[in-house]
């Protein structure tokens, strides 16, 4: 297997807007600090003259390639570099009042008529506790991510470990003690149903399509709604209008391609697609893994595909348009020749697939440096199908249309406004014949024994929202923000919610920032909970208050320390109800402390240490006792380190050099709470036993820990480079406990063990 990766230097930014409502800067001036490096050698460019907006005086980079401009007015600016040894460089960027915009440019040396595309993200307007800038090449060297930068979200503070085998959080991400379905995934500002393929082996987007991920674990701004957990806002990067680039890759996991380039002077395109290759070899291996007597014909092994295509037109500096189509598909199919129980209908096909498709039309209008409007319209189709034997099925189809407009406006010297409108309509069509699914905290009954509920529903749902956030900076070191969001749901709820959000941001002394915030968040119940046939259509919005307080300290050696305390109060949570199927009787509380110590890439060393101490509890009704949330993980400790050790000179053709690369990831996480099963009833008619549950989540699985290592070596040849890497997961072969399994009548039990040591050897050819 020789996967190919393209040779490109992309700055990738993950913003940990961890815990604060949106704010907007409003100070008089901002500043710019940056560095110029040679694209091929990576060495700093010393003595290069720079012009800011074409004006004098000229700034010249120092021996480290650094430059800075102080007292720069807010808004968009242009920088020009005319270094005698490099191609002339020109780029636009944005400056925010009271902020330092950090830039990093890689310039092509003369003799190679290409301008390196660099994606720069200026500091985010919102007040934040921390931000983390990660480069793609860094993240790809972190063991266990398979080069997928979206997967790094799982190593960030506040994110619970997903159980590898039992799939505790399924397709979602457990953020700060919230249920997976309480967090929202957005791509370019619009919701998509999932971020990862089955088993979270890969994200649904090619990493090279991305500009950044805003990971908002709580206390997010008024521009986001309908989520009481967190928000993962994935944003695609602009298309190149200067050069063609691309690659094809093939591995045991998937095969795909990436291509980008210009179409004329003002139009660029980006295209990528992937298809998993697991189904090509797993059916051959699986029979060897199954115990004797188990007949499982894997007619379609788990497989997925995804695609992304973006075409962007930039007619002027004031306008930018793009169209984008993205989609994802996951499928799995088994054939059970023998019945799974004495219910003969639990035999035959067991299939599951889901997909989503989106088409985007986006216009970004920036007529003046003081304001910008972004308007997007997105149409889509989501589908999910499930077939279990002859009688049980679920078929969901959701065509949808949404639109949002976001405005940023510098109103006055100390005031800035961010406001927007959004609306959407979708048709939820479902046919199902399934038992009612248990809720979080409930022990599933025996699937085959449960009453099947048949339904054929079609709901035309619509809703809209409006938000506004005002930022006010009365003095130099203080920033106050206040936001308000109005959500209105039409059919089937006819309910509205007003959600205030506030934050305070104070620079105690240079390098030390204190921040605090509070906000109200609400979300609509899930579709099956609102179903006429399977749920209760009269459910109210679930609600949460987020409180956050934190301190950010810049330290020597490019190390940054972030400490945050968060507290959430949840109410009107949907729980099972004897009379109404579901009701809003649930409440919850979550408290935690997050510590992040991160060293940005410097002298070939980068990494972070993240620790979360947390407790998440639920109460399923007025008379129910408090219990632990099913994804409660008291301690989450993650250490990520990467180091590069070059051993040779840079090759001009592709910019790579001989050298070693090392990566390490270590996780130490509390085990999840579990409900013990204390016995079973024999169900004669289904020839099975029904479990008798003990106290809900009254036990906890043992601690989990795992060490992943990666080492690679690159041979840089004149026109191409060869990298061989070894990625070893679970280096010391720790038998992690992923769950508890029971014997047939639930009188004996044993631990479900996690994945063993997995070495993964790979070869990458790049050009």
């Amino acid at each position: 297997m020789v996967p190919f990766v393209k040779n490109r230097w992309i700055v990738f930014i993950i913003l940990l807007a961890a815990g604060f409502p949106a704010g907007v800067g409003a100070r008089e001036k901002g500043s710019v600090a940056g560095v110029l490096v040679d694209k091929l050698s990576g060495e700093p460019i010393m003595g290069a003259p720079l012009w800011l907006d074409g004006r004098e005086p000229v700034e010249v980079t120092d021996e480290q390639g650094r430059f800075d401009f102080a007292g720069v007015g807010p808004g968009r600016h242009e920088i020009v570099v005319r270094d005698p040894e490099h191609v002339q460089f020109r780029a636009a960027f944005e400056v925010t009042a009271g902020k330092t915009t950090r830039l990093r440019y890689a310039l092509d040396p003369l003799g190679r008529e290409e301008v390196q595309e660099v994606i720069i993200r200026s500091e985010r307007l919102e007040a934040q506790v921390s931000d983390v800038v990660l480069e793609v090449e860094e993240v790809k060297k972190i063991p266990g991510t398979q080069g997928d930068i979206v997967k790094i979200v799982q190593s960030l503070p506040g994110v619970a470990r997903n159980l590898a085998i039992t799939g505790a959080s399924g397709l979602g991400v457990v953020v700060r003690g919230a249920a997976p379905e309480d967090s929202k995934v957005l791509i370019d500002g619009h919701e998509v149903p999932l971020l990862y393929h089955f088993g979270q082996v890969k994200s649904v987007l090619n990493s090279d399509m991305l500009k950044r991920i805003d990971f908002l674990p709580g206390g997010f701004g008024a521009e986001f709604g309908d989520a009481i957990g967190g928000v993962i806002d994935v944003q695609t990067r602009p298309c190149s209008t200067k050069r063609y680039d691309g690659y094809v890759e093939l591995s045991m996991l998937d095969a795909g391609f990436f291509l980008e380039g210009p179409i004329g002077d003002q139009v660029g395109f980006t295209a990528a697609a992937r298809r998993s290759t697991v189904d090509m070899w797993l059916p051959e291996v699986l029979p060897e893994l199954l115990p004797e007597g188990v007949s499982l014909d894997l007619t379609v092994a788990p497989y997925y595909w995804d695609y992304q295509t973006k075409v962007e037109w930039i007619p002027s500096t004031k306008n930018r348009f793009y169209m984008m189509v993205i989609g994802s598909h996951d499928e799995l199919e088994f054939l059970f020749e023998r019945p799974m129980s004495s219910d003969p209908s639990l035999r035959g096909d067991f299939s599951m697939w889901m997909d989503f498709h989106r088409i985007y039309a986006v216009w970004v209008h920036s007529p003046k440096s003081s304001w910008q409007l972004k308007w997007s319209v997105v149409g889509g189709l989501d589908r999910a199908k499930l077939q279990i034997g002859e009688l049980r099925y679920l078929d969901i189809s959701v065509p949808n249309l949404s639109s949002r407009a976001d405005l940023e406006w510098q109103i006055a010297e100390h005031w800035k406004l961010r406001a927007g409108l959004s609306g959407g309509v979708y048709s939820y069509q479902s046919e199902q014949r399934l038992p009612r699914m248990p809720k979080e905290g409930e022990v599933p009954g025996k699937f085959q024994t449960l009453e099947l509920i048949e339904g054929d529903e079609q709901i035309l749902a619509y809703g809209g929202s409006a938000y506004a956030t005002v930022g006010y900076a009365p003095v130099e070191k203080l920033l106050l923000t206040g936001g308000l969001r109005l959500e209105a749901y039409g059919d089937p709820l006819f309910e509205a919610a007003l959600m205030p959000r506030f934050s305070l941001h104070y620079e105690v002394r240079p390098g030390t920032v204190f921040k605090t915030g509070v906000g109200l968040y609400q979300q609509i119940a899930q579709e099956d909970e609102l179903s006429e046939t399977m749920g209760n259509p009269n459910l109210k919005l679930e609600r949460a208050w987020h409180f956050t307080i934190g301190l950010q300290q810049q330290m020597p050696a490019r190390v940054k320390l972030d400490v945050q305390y968060f507290y959430k109060i949840l109410d009107r949570l949907v729980v099972t109800d004897k009379d109404t199927v579901f009701s809003n009787q649930g409440i919850g509380k979550i408290a935690g402390l997050e510590i992040l110590i991160r060293r940005e890439l410097a002298q070939d060393l980068f990494g972070w240490l993240a620790y979360t101490l947390m407790q998440s509890k639920r109460k399923d009704g007025p008379d129910a006792p408090w219990r632990l949330f099913s994804f409660d993980q008291t301690h989450i400790l993650t250490l990520v380190l990467g180091y590069s050790l070059p051993t040779g000179p840079v090759k001009l053709a592709h910019g790579r050099r001989d050298g070693w690369g090392f990566g390490l990831r270590f996780q130490l996480v509390s085990g999840n709470p579990v409900t013990p099963l204390i016995g079973g009833y024999f169900d004669n008619d289904y020839d099975t036993y029904l479990p008798i549950p003990g106290l809900v989540n009254s036990e906890r699985l043992p601690f989990y820990h795992r060490l992943d290592l990666r080492v690679d070596y690159t041979w840089a040849f004149p026109i191409w480079a060869l990298t061989v890497f070894l990625d070893v997961q679970n280096v010391y072969n720790y038998e992690a406990v992923e769950g508890i399994r029971y014997n047939y009548d639930f009188t004996e039990r044993a631990y479900i063990e996690g994945l063993p040591l997995i070495p993964y050897l790979g070869i990458i050819g790049s050009f």
């Binding site: 799939g167 399924g170 397709l171 979602g172 997976p180 919701e191 149903p193 115990p291 004797e292 007597g293 020749e337 023998r338 019945p339 004495s342 219910d343 003969p344 035999r347 599951m352 889901m354 989501d382 999910a384 279990i388 679920l394 959701v398 979708y426 399934l434 038992p435 009612r436 699914m437 248990p438 809720k439 409930e442 022990v443 599933p444 009954g445 025996k446 699937f447 449960l450 009453e451 609509i524 899930q526 579709e527 099956d528 099972t576 024999f682 169900d683 004669n684 008619d685 020839d687 029904l690 479990p691 008798i692 549950p693 399994r741 029971y742 014997n743 639930f746 004996e748 044993a750 479900i752």
Partner: protein, 302 residues
């Protein structure tokens, strides 16, 4: 709002509950267990009577006395597991013992009315459904353990239940009947009820073949469609020594034309006592049940 997608992995976990190896195989009976509960008839009307019996295995019991309690219970099996406590508080207890018990529907309806439950659902002129499943629970407790000392509470207790179809309206369909087993073939030797114990040599794998009375295999239609279906006969296998390859088999053939009702019995290399039992239970997927209890003598290898 589009979070419905989370239902899919939930179903995966849901269907996998109870799976797992490294335990004593379910086909090996080592302690007190209920292997089957039969209602005769398996389906009744609201004026009928139903005779209940149970297949109780107690291989360690050496014939010790067992206490059996029968009761009709009112509970719904939701998506979440719960302690159904049947028999338990609020149950309608039936007179009977470990050999049999009787459900008299008239008595039951009167009791339901006293409890304030929806007796109206039993109105035959206005049935909300064609059949109502009635749940009958059985608790079996060992009075003594083999060495004669009293058991610890719950240590030798087995609990189970079954559903009885209650017809709420007259339909042209034939009522469900229990399936019947005629015999079983073990290693080529046929056995039927009342026959002498089979003699089998230890440390081998033998083919076992069920013999059902196909005349008791009925056709039926489900409530929600008009498709005429033939009952599926499913066979569950148990023994006191060795294990069966498949927990259950089905009267059908696979995609290659191979029979799916046969099974393989792996006999142990040696046994302490030659006297053992093989149980074969057949179910029709509609609450109909029958069984055979086959005495087996396992002989040492010569």
């Amino acid at each position: 709002m589009r979070r419905y997608i989370f239902i899919l992995p939930a179903v995966l976990v849901f269907t996998a509950v109870g799976c797992g190896g490294q335990f004593a195989h379910i086909t090996l009976v080592e302690r007190l267990r209920i292997l089957g509960i039969r209602a005769e008839p398996p389906e009744t009307d609201i004026f009928g009577e139903v005779e209940l019996s149970a297949l109780i295995a107690d291989p360690r019991g050496a014939g010790r006395p067992l206490d059996c309690t029968w009761a009709v219970c009112l509970f719904e099996l939701g998506g979440a597991a719960t302690d159904i406590s049947c028999p338990g508080p609020g149950s309608f207890y039936l007179s009977g013992d470990c050999d049999s018990a009787t459900v008299r529907m008239n008595d039951l309806v009167a009791w339901l009315a006293e409890q304030g439950f929806q007796v109206g659902r039993f109105d035959p002129d206005n049935p909300p459904m064609r059949e109502l499943p009635l749940i009958v629970g059985l608790q079996v407790q060992a009075a003594t353990v083999p060495n004669g000392t009293a058991p610890e509470s719950g240590a030798e207790t087995a609990r189970g239940f079954k559903r009885i179809g209650v017809r709420l309206a007259a339909t042209p369909e034939e009522p469900n009947r229990n399936p019947r087993l005629r015999g079983v073939s073990v290693g080529g030797m046929r056995w039927e009820a009342g026959a002498d114990p089979l003699e089998i040599v230890a440390n081998q794998k033998v083919l076992v073949v069920p013999e059902a009375d196909v005349g008791t295999r009925q056709t039926y239609m489900r409530e929600d469609d008009d498709i005429e279906r033939l009952e599926d006969f499913l066979f569950s296998w148990f023994c006191t020594s060795g294990v069966f390859l498949h927990r259950r088999t089905i009267l059908d053939v696979d995609s290659h034309g191979e029979r799916l009702d046969t099974n393989t019995w792996s006999l142990p290399a040696s046994v302490l006592s030659p006297e053992h039992t093989l149980w074969l239970v057949v179910r029709d997927g509609r609450y109909g049940t029958d069984w055979l209890e086959v005495p087996v003598e396992i002989l040492p290898q010569s």
